[in-house]
Symmetry: C2
Subunit: 349 residues, 2 copies
DNA sequence: GGCGGCGATGTGACGTGTCACATCGCGCGC
DNA sequence: GCGCGCGATGTGACACGTCACATCGCCGCC
């Protein structure tokens, strides 16, 4: 008797276990159904008799079947993957956003590939985008100098929807977290305390967050008819805040600072202390983000809190919605002012 | 005359451009070679005439060809993807590690899928691991309560190598960043300043980092023949540090604290200040990590710096090495003590 | 009683890159 | 002059889910 089936593709050979993981067809064979039926079970197709379904799921379990993502992606050409492009990832805001986005994406059946920008050179941005596109991401979240990245994206003519975490003028790629309202809140607080000479320590202006916060600051001052000086520019780091703080103290004439994030505010506090001055009596400081450490600064920092959870959820919802055509954007998330001890009325003149 | 080729799979129809992205066969057709030759060009096979290679790369460019990752993964059954499992991702150490790992992985042609643990329940851990396994990750980096995760991993019988960021006793899954040496460095510094009643504010003991730092602390004290009290346990947050700081001050009797990370140290500083005491004259504080903000704490924090870049590189190298069989581990990375103003000799008795 | 229709399942092709093997031509050695 | 070997390239199968379509049995309706 000759073996008339020369090669068969069964996973389980006569003896011993096979190396290759079980496929849909192995499951089908064990359950005594066709591979298509197994596929239907996988995809929760309604027309499957409960008894059949049970046989299939049993077979899956005994074979430790795990669907092969690559095969599914190949045939459906949907990767169910989102990409996040970040720079400055170690900062609190971006980190929180990433966590929230990842959670929301996972809940929606998507996974997330992150790439951190080591520099903001166009080449680095291109390389990072290429890397993400190689993963066939279906959408992109940009937490980075958005204007630069946007340029790279349009120059690469990427056919992938993307969103940033901030509101923007055009509104097309925008997720409405109301940075402007937050900045106005912080500024108004200082104005209401009686400050009239208020400096803004802004983030890099190619970040849309930074730009929006600056706009909000300017808008609120204008509404109160208070003149705004040139903003100081920082790079989100405490070091930059420290340098800016020193400069402000040297220059004098300012009674309050609104910093575009908490870490720069920390640097300002440190400069104030080093100069032998006091916060808040010599200089009031307001931050932005409400990082968990902010309440333990010296003094505890008055700041603006953002709801990063909600931000991440909306971000993913927006992106997935856009994948399916619908592109409406939600109402802005209102940020919240958290009062602590780093602000006080200006010292009586 | 009948059309005798009923269906052809050409990407470019008679008129207009096709929707489907170009495949290897489209490139082959345009370049006048076989699909296999294109594949060889993609894989830098040596036996390709330069002229042929040029024709192929030209065709790739005009067709904007981008290799289909899913197809490649399917056939090679190598995903070229690593998974990172984190919790507490917003903290400085983990964030830095992730960034470094991502960079190293990308440099090695791998991409990284991250998953954040919202809780440390076994179910949440299992779900996160399942999620990563669904991505067919080839290796796993665990930045989380390693003992819990390790249990989940072994219960799931995952056939994937994994590493943690810390040295461990068994050494099998360990990446040698010498936490113990770092902790000894910090402790020795306090001892050399003359402190003899030193508290340790430890991290959660199911984190191997926390456990190692505690071990280093105890070892150094033992070497100096100084008794160690019960360590305080924190959860890495500044809030926990604050609570521990209050407890220490209430209890009294301690002249120095070694905190297992900088953020908890910040909380301690804040408690000291709130109690109207002074750091360092009433209480010396040493941190761990050297986050960029540490130098702007009040007072600037003496702490232990880790080289996260190197850590990430080694982590990826170890993981990829293990994929290819070789499993040697590298020499430990030596951490470094950074002296600032939060430590001083104990006040004269 | 026959047929439309639907529920439940099966069949075969497909997508895209890679693998194993086949083929072709040419130079070299004896 | 002939065959070997190698460089360069082509051929067909394959991996594994899903899609489109086919099939089969049964119920209900006229």
């Amino acid at each position: 008797m000759t073996c008339h089936i020369a090669r068969h593709t069964g996973a389980v050979t006569a003896e011993g276990t096979a190396q290759r993981p079980a496929s849909i067809r192995d499951v089908a064979r064990l359950a005594g159904v066709s591979h298509q039926t197994v596929s239907r079970v996988l995809n929760q197709h309604p027309s499957i008799r409960p008894e059949t379904r049970a046989r299939v799921t049993d077979a899956m379990e005994t074979l430790k079947y795990r669907p092969n993502r690559a095969a599914r992606v190949l045939v459906t050409s949907r990767s169910h993957t989102l990409g996040i492009l970040t720079s400055n990832r170690m900062h609190y805001g971006p980190s929180s956003s990433i966590v929230a986005i990842e959670a929301a994406a996972r809940a929606a059946g998507y996974s997330v590939v992150t790439t951190n920008l080591s520099s903001t050179d166009p080449e680095a941005i291109d390389a990072a985008l290429e890397h993400l596109l190689d993963q066939a991401v279906e959408g992109l979240v940009v937490i980075a100098p958005q204007t630069r990245v946007a340029a790279a994206i349009s120059s690469l003519a990427i056919g992938v929807p993307y969103v940033t975490l901030q509101s923007e003028d055009d509104g097309s790629h925008a997720l409405s977290v109301d940075q402007i309202a937050g900045a106005r809140l912080a500024t108004r607080h200082l104005l209401e305390l009686g400050h009239r000479r208020i400096a803004h320590l802004a983030g890099p202006q190619d970040w849309s967050e930074a730009e929006a916060r600056l706009r909000g600051f300017a808008a609120e001052l204008a509404a109160w008819d208070v003149p705004a000086g040139e903003p100081l520019l920082g790079d989100w780091t405490a070091d930059a805040g420290y340098r800016a703080g020193r400069e402000l103290l040297d220059r004098g004439g300012v009674t309050a600072v609104f910093s575009a994030n908490d870490q720069m505010a920390l640097g300002v506090l440190s400069a104030v202390r080093e100069a032998g001055r006091d916060c808040p009596s010599d200089l009031s400081v307001v931050g932005f983000d409400d990082m968990p450490e902010a309440r333990h600064f010296a003094p505890p920092l008055t700041t603006v809190r953002q709801d990063f959870e909600e931000l991440g959820r909306r971000c993913v919802a927006l992106l997935l919605g856009r994948l399916d055509g619908g592109a409406r954007s939600a109402a802005p998330i209102a940020p919240e002012l958290v009062l602590r001890s780093s602000t006080a009325p200006p010292r009586a003149r």
